[in-house]
């Protein structure tokens, strides 16, 4: 059987090019089966000659997606296309979303929307608090990427595990940590989900199986692999979602983990949030072969390219991966194409991309897109929207007040939690 990428590996097929995101795939994937096979064969022959690969892409890819040498930015899906194509894609995404809406009950749809809006408003408030000096250190906002965490986490059980990177406020909220505890953590207060010791980049909740924000790029990938290993070892059917940015794909930790996950058949779902920039370095300047989903073929792991602006597409792709993980203990790699509307962190001058590029992506704002789909389907109207908006704003205001009023950790907290089993040197009493 061919894998979904027609590369010749034995990775199982998830969707065979049915996902709407197919339209956004890098051009090498947008081929008929036969041309893809020819392409693969030729690619093998010429595998050591990169320029040839580029040349071949031109021969086989649809002209609309091709990137001419004169084009300024080749970093974003939309950016590669004339505006006409953007509106075309928007239409396709909406159509697909409308189609998917039929498979999800209304209550869930509205809850998904509420969560996306909550994360959006939460992050806006966090930005405000940061600029007022109430939040310190680094603060990486999730605005623009909400559909990924919320779509994916909506497809798992509460006892499943989530690990993510330092851009984690949205994941924490989606996993069920209260905005109060997330905001208080940002404020460095004892009411925070890590009691003020972790901050924006290190949120944890043991009871909710939220296993952290990790701040070394890619560091959470081996950890998540280990959590999945433990599920299999203990014989539970829990699955692990591991979120990371596309820049983490260049780290050895990613490749080492995928290799072990498939070798030992571990129930881990690797969700690459490809927002197309590693801090200020575009994907184009950082990755020699940019088709991240296809990298899974190197480990014969099933993979899929998903539209990260469509919360239902992310939910659907994750649900399929979860089923494989739960039933067969098999890993999956999802490349979810998204875009962050804000800077890398609050201190990002943004000099590496244009306003116009951001605005183009904002035309596919995942929150607005989902609202318009729900409205067109008659699931939500302006009045209901206003109600959701109001309750979300109240929740965020409450979080802000909670964070402000929560006490700072006492000075004695400086020395706690270094060791679980602190040892007084020279103590002859046996260890517990």
């Amino acid at each position: 059987m061919q894998c979904a990428h027609f590369c010749g590996c034995r990775a199982p097929v998830l969707h065979v090019l049915t996902n709407v995101a197919y339209n956004q795939r890098p051009k090498t994937q947008q081929q008929t089966v036969s041309s893809a096979l020819v392409h693969t064969a030729l690619k093998r022959q010429e595998s050591n000659r990169r320029p040839v690969r580029k040349q071949m892409s031109k021969q086989t890819a649809p002209s609309e997606m091709s990137t001419g040498p004169g084009e300024k930015s080749r970093t974003g899906v939309i950016d590669q296309n004339p505006l006409k194509a953007v509106s075309q894609q928007l239409k396709t995404v909406k159509q697909e979303q409308k189609h998917r809406v039929d498979d999800v009950d209304e209550k869930t749809l509205i809850e998904l929307y509420r969560q996306m809006l909550l994360v959006r408003r939460f992050e806006e408030k966090a930005a405000e608090a940061y600029s007022m000096g109430k939040i310190g250190g680094f603060c990486h906002l999730y605005i623009g990427q909400e559909a990924v965490a919320i779509g994916a986490i909506s497809a798992i059980r509460t006892d499943d595990y989530v690990l993510t990177s330092y851009r984690e406020h949205g994941h924490a909220i989606a996993k069920g940590i209260s905005p109060d505890a997330v905001m208080a953590e940002l404020f460095g207060k004892s009411g925070g989900c890590s009691h003020g010791k972790g901050g924006s980049m290190h949120m944890f909740d043991r009871n909710l199986n939220f296993l952290g924000g990790h701040a070394i790029v890619g560091g959470q990938i081996p950890l998540a692999t280990g959590v999945a290993f433990a599920s299999k070892y203990k014989g539970t059917d829990q699955v692990t979602l591991c979120f990371f940015g596309e820049a983490a794909v260049n780290q050895g930790a990613f490749h080492e983990s995928l290799n072990m996950a498939q070798l030992w058949k571990l129930p881990c779902i690797y969700i690459c949030e490809n927002n197309q920039y590693g801090m200020g370095t575009s994907l184009d300047r950082a990755m020699s072969f940019q088709n991240i989903a296809e990298k899974a073929c190197a480990y014969e792991i099933a993979s899929e390219f998903v539209d990260g602006m469509d919360v239902l597409a992310v939910r659907e792709a994750t649900a399929q991966a979860v089923e494989r993980a739960r039933k067969d203990h098999l890993p999956t790699l999802l490349e979810v194409r998204t875009y962050r509307f804000m800077g890398h962190s609050m201190s990002d001058p943004g000099s590496y991309r244009t306003r116009a590029e951001i605005e183009k992506h904002q035309e596919r704002d995942p929150v607005k897109l989902f609202f318009s789909t729900l409205k067109e389907k008659g699931i939500i109207d302006d009045a209901a929207l206003a109600e959701v908006e109001k309750s979300v704003r109240e929740e965020v205001e409450h979080a802000l007040r909670f964070a402000e009023e929560s006490p700072s950790p006492g000075p004695e907290e400086l020395y706690t939690d270094v060791y679980s089993n602190p040892i007084v040197p020279g103590n002859r009493a046996p260890n517990k």
Partner: protein
């Protein structure tokens, strides 16, 4: 009691603790089918099965991190580095994940894991395979660092390390695997972490030695005895937490101290011990603390050069005579 090698003592500890607790598993390069690159894990695959004794690809960062992740959710991994030289690849997961997880999660996620394997100098394997790493790991709060020097200590300390709820770096000296000694057979025999052992009592000078330097110090003490100098030899056994009290107690008695180590001197553990002695027992010292360390160069291959790079009995004898102003 039975006389066995350090290799066998470690094997006993692993076997006993894995039989005792189903959540303990052992993972590393060549630990299972090959029976261990140094045969420390010999027979464990047969005894415990492939679910619990797991051969890994050569992917140190990956399986170290996998171990930490498994420890987050209740397993108690033993991660073997074929040698600690390769732990360098895994330091991100050891330091940034294992050491800090409990703290940065506000006490929610303890990491009961042992990273173990041979360290220090080996026989003529040159620079990349012959180095002492303890000062790297001992630097970080959140980690415990253990270095046994006898088969009994190796067994007792490894068993305690596996039962401990914190990440433990357990460094076995590669040259000492074949050393023999009496080892208790009681499966409940353990040795507390953070407890130094007086390997020889004396009155005139203290030698603080760990790992490979302990037998060297004991030989030096024998020679010095013949020269009329009575040496106390103290093995901290655990580098972090360090049982400085036992060392200081000895220094207060002997008033002279030499700290021996095979590692490089700069930013080494002996530097830390010397400073702690200065802070706590300055008024008791009759001579400045003397360090005897491995030389400050990468380990050479040539046999004669290698021998010059590691402290020997003569150097220790000379150092004790120096602090004794003889």
């Amino acid at each position: 009691m039975a006389v066995i090698t350090m290799r066998e003592a470690l094997n006993q500890a692993l076997r006993e603790e894995m039989l005792r607790d189903q959540n303990v598993f052992l993972m590393g390069e060549e630990v299972a089918e090959y029976q261990g690159a140094y045969k420390v894990t010999k027979g464990l695959l047969e005894a415990l099965g492939p679910k619990r004794v797991i051969d890994t690809p050569i992917t140190e960062l990956g399986f170290a991190g996998l171990g930490v992740g498994a420890a987050m959710v209740g397993l108690r991994p033993i991660i073997e580095f074929m040698t600690f030289n390769f732990s360098i690849l895994a330091t991100d997961q050891i330091i940034n994940s294992a050491a800090k997880m409990l703290y940065m999660s506000g006490g929610q996620f303890k990491i009961p894991i042992v990273f173990r394997g041979p360290g220090g100098s080996a026989f003529q394997v040159s620079s990349q395979h012959s180095q002492a790493m303890e000062s790297w790991f001992a630097y970080f709060p959140g980690l415990k660092v253990v270095m046994p020097s006898t088969p009994a200590d190796a067994k007792g300390l490894l068993k305690t390390s596996i039962r401990d709820d914190d990440p433990v770096i357990f460094i076995e000296q590669e040259r000492m695997y074949g050393n023999k000694g009496d080892v208790p057979e009681d499966p409940e025999f353990t040795i507390p972490l953070g407890l130094a052992d007086v390997k020889r009592e004396g009155t005139d000078a203290t030698i603080v030695a760990r790992s490979l330097m302990v037998p060297v110090a004991l030989k030096a003490a024998e020679q010095l005895e013949k020269q009329g100098i009575s040496c106390e030899v103290i093995d901290p056994r655990t580098i972090r937490p360090l049982d400085i009290d036992t060392i200081v107690e000895s220094v207060k008695k002997t008033n002279r101290v030499v700290v021996a180590e095979e590692s490089h001197p700069f930013c080494g553990v002996a530097a830390e011990i010397s400073m702690e002695i200065m802070e706590r027992a300055f008024d008791y010292l009759d001579a400045p603390v003397k360090r005897v360390s491995g030389v400050d160069v990468p380990m050479p291959y040539a046999k004669n050069l290698e021998a010059l790079a590691i402290p020997d009995v003569d150097q220790l004898v000379a150092a004790v005579r120096e602090v004794s102003y003889i």
